[in-house]
């Protein structure tokens, strides 16, 4: 027999008692835990993914940060011309341009977050196939990266308020909550669609349609006060109604405090987010094989 000395040395390495946390890798069945603690462990990765998205976006585009303003601003001009001027759509006694822009800023954040999140898994296939980390980090990072665009567009909104002589009230303090509501809605929907997108690539074509449909189903070009009462509150089942109404109320002081609408929207949004997260986790095991 061969005499290579390496053969028979058993080499028992001394045990390090601290490192005995055993991880079991086994097939999972059905609905699985969200493992949010693990996601928290990976918060630095989440931070770097957000940071990469922002950095790359502004490096690759010629106009960079200007896009964050151009999109909602020009939409606002078009809306003001056609809905405000020509169709004479009412705007709760607020100048139509700022009435629509105050809604377009959170809307664009939502719409871009939703579309990019839906595509996020497919466009990160190189990562998914080569390394493990909680996959939830991908759509979350994508949606979070949109906050920078939101902030830029929001600054323009403040300038417009100055121009129209609208003084912010103490209600403005509620704004972060409405932003959070837009974020959870975008993320929740994004989780559903991104996971489906891995399985059915048709989703890519469906998303623009969903966004367009949702735009008109949300009181952006028109006020929700057009609807008679029981319906107006039920309208809050569309979470973006709560967001838009909340923004207008907090910033422009539209008369009614939309408490019930927002409560409905928030509940709906949480339902979408939680169900989306569970659906996403359930589909996760096939991402690496299918994406």
């Amino acid at each position: 027999m061969a005499t290579i000395s390496k053969f028979n040395i058993p080499e028992p390495t001394p045990d390090t008692p601290e490192a005995t946390r055993t991880l079991r890798i086994a097939p999972s069945e059905g609905w699985v835990a969200l493992r949010l603690a693990e996601l928290w462990d990976y918060r630095e990765l989440l931070f770097f993914l957000v940071w990469r998205d922002i950095k790359v976006r502004y490096k690759q585009t010629a106009l960079g940060a200007a896009w964050a303003v151009i999109q909602p601003f020009f939409t606002m001009i078009v809306f003001s011309l056609f809905f405000g001027r020509l169709a004479k759509v009412p705007s709760d006694n607020i100048p139509y341009p700022i009435f629509s822009y105050a809604a377009l800023v959170p809307w664009m954040f939502f719409a871009n977050g939703l579309s990019e999140a839906s595509n996020s898994l497919v466009s990160s296939s190189n990562l998914i196939k080569k390394i493990y980390f909680p996959r939830l980090a991908i759509p979350i990072a994508t949606v979070l990266a949109g906050v920078v665009d939101f902030v830029i567009a929001f600054v323009v909104l403040l300038v417009m308020m100055l121009y129209y002589g609208i003084v912010p009230t103490v209600n403005t303090l509620w704004l972060p909550l409405f932003l959070l509501l837009a974020l959870t809605t975008a993320l929740g929907t994004g989780l559903w669609l991104s996971a489906m997108n891995v399985k059915f690539r048709d989703v890519r074509y469906v998303v623009p349609f969903i966004v367009q449909f949702w735009l008109f189903a949300t009181p952006i070009a028109y006020p929700s006060s057009l609807l008679p009462e029981p319906w107006r509150t039920l309208y809050g089942l569309n979470p973006m109604v709560g967001v838009v109404e909340g923004f207008r109320w907090a910033l422009l002081g539209t008369a009614t405090a939309p408490g019930l609408i927002i409560a409905l929207s928030a509940s709906m949004s949480v339902v979408i987010l939680i169900s989306g997260a569970f659906y996403f986790r359930r589909m996760e095991k096939m991402f690496a094989d299918r994406v």
């Binding site: 290579i4 080499e11 999972s28 390394i131 048709d202 094989d289």
Partner: protein, 437 residues
């Protein structure tokens, strides 16, 4: 199937604490055609939904893994089936096997990229996996930015990256370009940077897939050196490579996979021998598809080659083989070729029948022998085979290859990890002239 599991003999429960990885009955199936139909279309799903609403809805909500009722689909292919082995803490294990044997699937499961279909694996310790270098590198970002991004993706903490940053940059030799977007890097610089980040990962268990197969020779050497450091630092390493030389350098034991099964687990040299034989057998099967002339019965120093006795690099040796000739052959040329474990050819010697004093080669059984002088080979695994090229009477040129015999060279020669030969050299140092003060 052979299974030599050294770790399994004593009571299992007592051993558990010194195990880093325990794999039990691990299997992974893919649906055939998954490549072409990587994703279903909504139309199919809708059509199915119309036919059987509840079933379709459930299958849409369910993940890709169809166990239970539908598990026994006949069009599943099993990339891995019933893989069982154990890895001790601090052990460096080479995973070897031919393409499609399931090596990469195994690593993907152990690094949690994809789920197994059956069985389980228990992992004790923090896992770092390198299935590719430069995962997540973005061309628009600078070297510095990519180090942080890639480090985070590999699972390093920010503090850890900051601490090792200078070391990484120095290892990659890109100091001057660290703030340049990597899209302007040469491919060599890019790879060096990517590997450098990966090489500074310090998990308790490292899973590596073929990442050394990149870059030029000098860089590969450097990577290999770094990997050796990792292996000797007492960390557990699972290493997949086609570079048998690298496997032998880095690993003490090996797991040989064949068709999704463990066909051998044990010392790395034996694993390599079995793997090489398997590969050569497959090649030889192709070559010997036609009946007739063939090589058999290879011997090293007149001993059967099944497990070649260790040779000492400083001694002469002989290789012999039987040659069965089934038809008259003309213009016969005999070749003897020897490669080292990384596949570099060391000897390629050709002789012809004239030189062998054989005016004609007629059907019959021949004994071929080659005597080698001391080759001064440094310890390692080398392979050797014979080839016969000749014309048959109808003018057709034919080649007959022997199986490959493994030479297990031991001894004290030292190539410093760089050289293959270490002949005794006669150094001298003579002072020719005294320094004039």
């Amino acid at each position: 199937m052979r299974r030599q599991t050294f770790a399994r003999e004593p009571e299992e429960t007592a051993l558990r604490n010194d195990l880093a990885i325990q794999v039990e009955g691990l299997g992974k199936s893919y649906r055939i055609g998954a490549k072409q139909e990587a994703y279903g279309t909504l139309r199919d799903s809708l059509a199915e939904m119309a036919a059987a609403p509840w079933r379709a809805l459930r299958s849409t909500l369910r993940g890709g893994n169809r166990r239970g009722g539908a598990a026994s689909r006949t069009n599943d292919i099993w990339a891995l089936k019933d893989v069982t082995f154990e890895v001790k803490r601090g052990e460096a294990v080479g995973i070897i096997g031919r393409n499609g044997a399931g090596k990469s699937t195994l690593l993907k499961i152990l690094s949690r990229i994809t789920e197994p279909t059956t069985g389980y694996a228990d992992i004790n310790g923090r896992v770092g996996s390198l299935l590719e270098v430069g995962t997540g590198f973005h061309p628009e970002l600078t070297g510095r930015e990519n180090i942080f991004l890639n480090g985070a993706i590999l699972g390093m903490k920010r503090g850890e990256i900051i601490k090792k940053f200078d070391e990484m940059v120095a290892f990659a030799e890109v100091e001057k370009f660290i703030d340049t977007p990597v899209k302007h890097y040469s491919s060599g610089m890019y790879l060096r940077l990517a590997f450098s980040v990966a090489a500074h990962l310090e998990p308790e268990i490292l899973l590596v897939d073929e990442v050394l197969a990149v870059g030029d020779m000098a860089f590969q050497k450097k990577c290999l050196g770094k990997m050796e450091d990792v292996a000797t630092e007492g960390r557990t390493v699972l290493f997949v490579s086609h570079n048998l030389g690298a496997i032998k350098e880095l690993c003490r034991t090996s797991v040989l996979l064949r068709d999704g099964l463990v066909s051998f687990q044990g010392p790395v040299v034996e694993g390599i021998v079995l793997y090489s034989r398997e590969t050569m057998q497959a090649e030889a099967d192709d070559a010997h598809a036609r009946r007739g002339t063939r090589w058999t019965d290879l011997k090293v120093n007149n001993a059967g080659a099944a497990f070649a006795p260790a040779l000492n690099g400083v001694e002469p040796f002989t290789i012999g083989a039987r040659l069965e000739v089934h038809e008259p052959l003309l213009d016969a040329r005999f070749k003897c070729r020897m490669d080292d474990a990384s596949g570099h050819t060391l000897i390629y010697h050709v002789t012809n029948q004239k030189e062998l004093d054989a005016p004609e080669i007629t059907p019959g059984v021949y004994r071929v022998g080659v005597g080698f002088p001391p080759l001064w080979l440094v310890p390692g695994v080398y392979t050797l085979y014979f080839q016969l090229t000749a014309r048959t009477s109808d003018g057709e040129e034919k080649r007959y290859m022997s199986e490959r015999v493994m030479l297990n060279v031991t001894g004290k020669l030292d190539g410093q990890g760089r050289a293959v030969l270490s002949p005794p050299l006669d150094w001298s140092l003579v002072r020719e002239k005294a320094a004039s003060a």
